[in-house]
Amino acid sequence: MQEPLLKTVELKKTFGDTCVLNGISTEIYEGEKVVVIGPSGSGKSTFLRCLNLLETPTDGAIYFGGEELTHSTDLEEHRKKMGMVFQHFNLFPHLTVLKNVTLAAVEARLQERKKRKLKISKKQIVAEENERAMKLLARIGLEDKADAYPSTLSGGQKQRIAIVRALAMNPKVMLFDEPTSALDPEMVGEVLSLMKELADEGMTMIVVTHEMRFAREVATRVLFMDGGKIAAEGPPEEIFGAPKDERLKAFLSKVL
């Protein structure tokens, strides 16, 4: 059988005395689109942030491409393969849009050049990455914003650029933490449709969201989290169509 791309085993996270993740075990296979739903404070963000070790788990294990991450000494290498999109975009305000997209990719290639003693000039690397970034920006129709600073963009544009910035690293999986929650309603659509495109192209995605329609349309699997545990999981038809768990029912009756 195929190996899961990402796997967590009894993942736990406590902040002081509060137990936020109370044993999360799940496997995510390549091409899956997992949507995580659940009430506020149930640990969705913490779960996502543990996956790329922005938060250090208190206990448990994470396997990514077969390697265990919590004791990894090469976290940066793994993070490069996991794109993350934040609720508040977190674009770099002091850099142009183009620089936002290319910064990490250029750094990664410079590092690789040093490690493998490649004979390629920095100028060449920057030129190649700029070209790649421009293609990505063209794809979302924002190539004319390449030299603009983030503060001049709308929320929807910012988030789409943040997605492109993550894509520039050629990630194997994309993590989204409520990517549309900070947006004005009229801009939610453009971000969701970009995410749908990615999903259609086969990107492995883990999405924390309150957009239930998106979950229904795009998810291959829905995780319902409550109290730091996966309280229910299954295909969207089952989760939304025939929920069994009482807490899930209560949650859905509130959000639907």
Binding site: E76, R79, S151, M169
Partner: protein, 253 residues
């Protein structure tokens, strides 16, 4: 008040003795030169060391790492800010650097080490003013802590602390005027020197003050210029400017 202020004839005479006689005007510029030299070196030492101190204190606060190092930095900041700079100068001149014959060097080092403590506080506040999400975004893209620091956090922090940093530079330039206590011929010492020959303080004091004023004014012009250059990217209202720095400690000398 000086009762001869309105007497044109004596005023010309006093002007002459303050500037022309024995080429005394040269003294002011010699003093100014030394003041600028000390300030420049001190600013370099202060910023370099201060940013390192601030970054260490910030890192410890955010990540819990480097606890001992951060503790040492905090003690340093507390001690330096808690003692008068004149005494620090004496300690350096008569004890620590007693073998160094060049007063300008001793002054530069003293004022630099002193300024570092203030810059450290400014730098720490500046680093803390940068949104937490910036570090997370950097790290999530696979950048190392130090790369994220240098490419993402520090540039933004720097922008936020320009006013506080220039406050510090301005305070520092004026602060160097205590150098005269250990016999360094800086601008602040010149009026006294000339008065000891002419028994007249009026023009030496006015002119020395004017020169300080010009230096400080030039600094504010540079500040405005840098702010303008950096403001290209910030049309967002969310920018947090750090002001302050030394202002609570006016009476340091």
């Amino acid at each position: 008040m000086d009762i001869n202020l309105l007497n044109a004839k004596t005023l010309t005479e006093r002007l002459r003795s303050a500037f022309v006689v024995e080429n005394r005007w040269l003294l002011y510029f010699q003093g100014l030169g030394n003041t600028l030299l000390m300030s420049l070196f001190a600013v370099c030492i202060g910023v370099a060391l201060g940013v390192i101190l601030g970054a260490i204190i910030y890192t410890e606060k955010k990540t819990g790492k480097a606890k001992i190092l951060a503790a040492i930095c905090k003690v340093y900041v507390t001690v330096i800010r808690g003692t008068p700079v004149v005494l620090q100068l004496f300690i350096m001149y008569f004890i620590v650097l007693v073998s160094v014959k060049n007063g300008i060097v001793v002054g530069s080092v003293t004022f630099g080490l002193n300024s570092a403590a203030y810059v450290a506080e400014v730098a720490r506040a500046g680093l803390e003013s940068v949104d937490e999400g910036q570090m997370e975004a950097g790290r999530s893209l696979g950048l190392s802590y130090s790369k994220t620091m240098f490419k993402i956090i520090l540039p933004q922090a720097f922008r936020n602390i320009i006013p506080a940093l220039f406050n510090e530079f301005i305070a520092l330039v004026k602060e160097t005027s205590v150098a005269g206590y250990v016999g360094i011929l800086d601008l602040g010492k010149v009026p006294g020197l000339i008065q000891s020959r002419t028994f007249d303080y009026l023009f030496p004091l006015l002119f020395a003050s004017l020169l300080y004023l010009v230096v400080v004014y030039l600094l504010t012009i540079i500040e405005k210029f840098i702010e303008k250059q950096l403001s290209k990217s910030d049309r967002d209202g969310g920018k947090k400017i750090i002001t302050g720095g030394r202002k609570k400690c006016k009476n340091r000398s």
